[in-house]
Symmetry: C2
């Protein structure tokens, strides 16, 4: 039986989402809890792997449960929360169609990045927002962000994934549906970005470069040239992971 679940997590205590046997990961905790409840080893697939320190709000996972196991989604949700909380919260468990795959069935993903402005950081948000004390020009950052929307080769904003020798390089072409900044509560500015899919470190590289624009280091209209360079050294800094939250996935 195929199942899916929506998962939120505070990434601070985890070495990222993906399984890594040496360290604590979100998938590691979830698979261990699932194995305990289902009494059978379970492998999960996720909509998007998040890096160490990145948070989740609407991460989606899918997994197969052996047919001979009798599973009630409501009780499974409760058991998983008992085992994984409070750093991981399973918000919803459902039976899915057999062809559902958290990764390949996704139509688009949305991320949020929080920047905390002002001279001093807010000690209540040091785990969830990047503190930038320099004044930021939000209009310029939005003008720059608009250049990212559309289908582009994002090589300048992505960390290239190593492929085994002989295999072709992975394409860095993605379609960004929406990208923009808005003012949040109390000295917070938020970057919201939606795309069919993201490459590795793409959002953090967008944010770092757009913050550089906001400080006046780049002109907003330099973005097309940076994209055209297809080279990471053309872009700005990479924002730290803790400001980033994987917000939602649409299927």
């Amino acid at each position: 039986m195929k199942m899916r679940a929506t998962v939120a997590y505070n990434g601070s205590g985890f070495h990222g989402f993906a399984i890594n046997n040496d360290v604590r990961t979100v998938a590691g905790d979830l698979e261990a809890a699932l194995a305990k409840v289902v009494r059978s080893p379970i492998t999960i697939t996720c909509a998007g792997r998040t890096d160490k320190g990145v948070h989740g709000r609407g991460q989606v996972i899918s997994f197969d449960v052996p047919d001979d196991v009798d599973i009630d989604p409501v009780r499974l949700e409760r058991s998983l929360n008992g085992l994984c909380g409070p750093s991981i919260v399973v918000r919803d468990v459902q039976v899915a169609t057999d062809d559902f795959d958290a990764r390949f069935s996704a139509q688009w993903r949305r991320y949020r990045y929080q920047v905390m402005t002002g001279k001093h950081p807010d000690p209540l948000r040091i785990e969830s927002a990047w503190h930038v004390w320099q004044p930021l020009e939000l209009d310029a950052m939005n003008q720059a962000a608009a250049h990212l929307v559309g289908e582009h080769d994002f090589s300048s904003f992505c960390k290239r994934v190593k492929v085994p020798e002989g295999e072709p390089e992975k394409s860095m072409t993605r379609r960004v549906l929406e990208a923009g900044w808005r003012e949040g509560d109390d000295d917070i500015v938020e970057f919201w970005v939606q795309a069919t899919a993201f490459c590795h470190q793409m959002v953090r590289s967008f944010v770092g470069t757009l913050v550089d624009v906001g400080m006046g280091k780049f002109d907003p209209d330099a973005i097309p040239e940076i994209l055209a360079a297809q080279n990471r050294t053309a872009a700005g800094q990479v924002a730290p992971p803790h400001g980033l939250t994987f917000w939602e996935v649409r299927y």
Copy 2:
């Protein structure tokens, strides 16, 4: 020389504000840092002592620095942040007038309390918001809150402080200038309350009782009777400390 500073802190790692030699406190960390920088023992006074787990955003402290010590406020701020951060952030250090006292010079204080609604908690806010999964009637809660405004004896909403034998009981009469709920970002509802001064656990007792009103356990118009009872058992539950932030003080 009299000095004042504005201090923010994440209360999660502290056993409250006030000095307690056995455990880590905000005042303990600040006094230790001040003693190190000024090279002389320093005692601080604060605008409002906060309980274990309660956060600060605009707590104000005052302290005396010996006249033979040469202090530059900007450098002192930087040194204190180096020693106390990131859980404590010193937002501002100034020279004050000789008669300034962080506690007795205050005209009013304002607190914020965050409640996180919805079926599941947000793992990014478990340290700064109280999760209440039951549906809450915000209109009823605001109607109830309006009864708290004005000068009242708040014995029903306060933890009585033990006084030494023979001394008179402390008055629980305070003047509340403003009290109300508003919807915040993303499943958060916030209670904002401003008063000339607060007694012990007053805000948490307001919030617990108003949340009880929001769940239908009390009628909004039961508040005048609860006040008149002058007895803690008449009020509702006491909300947990971690949703509370001491927001600002006006002098």
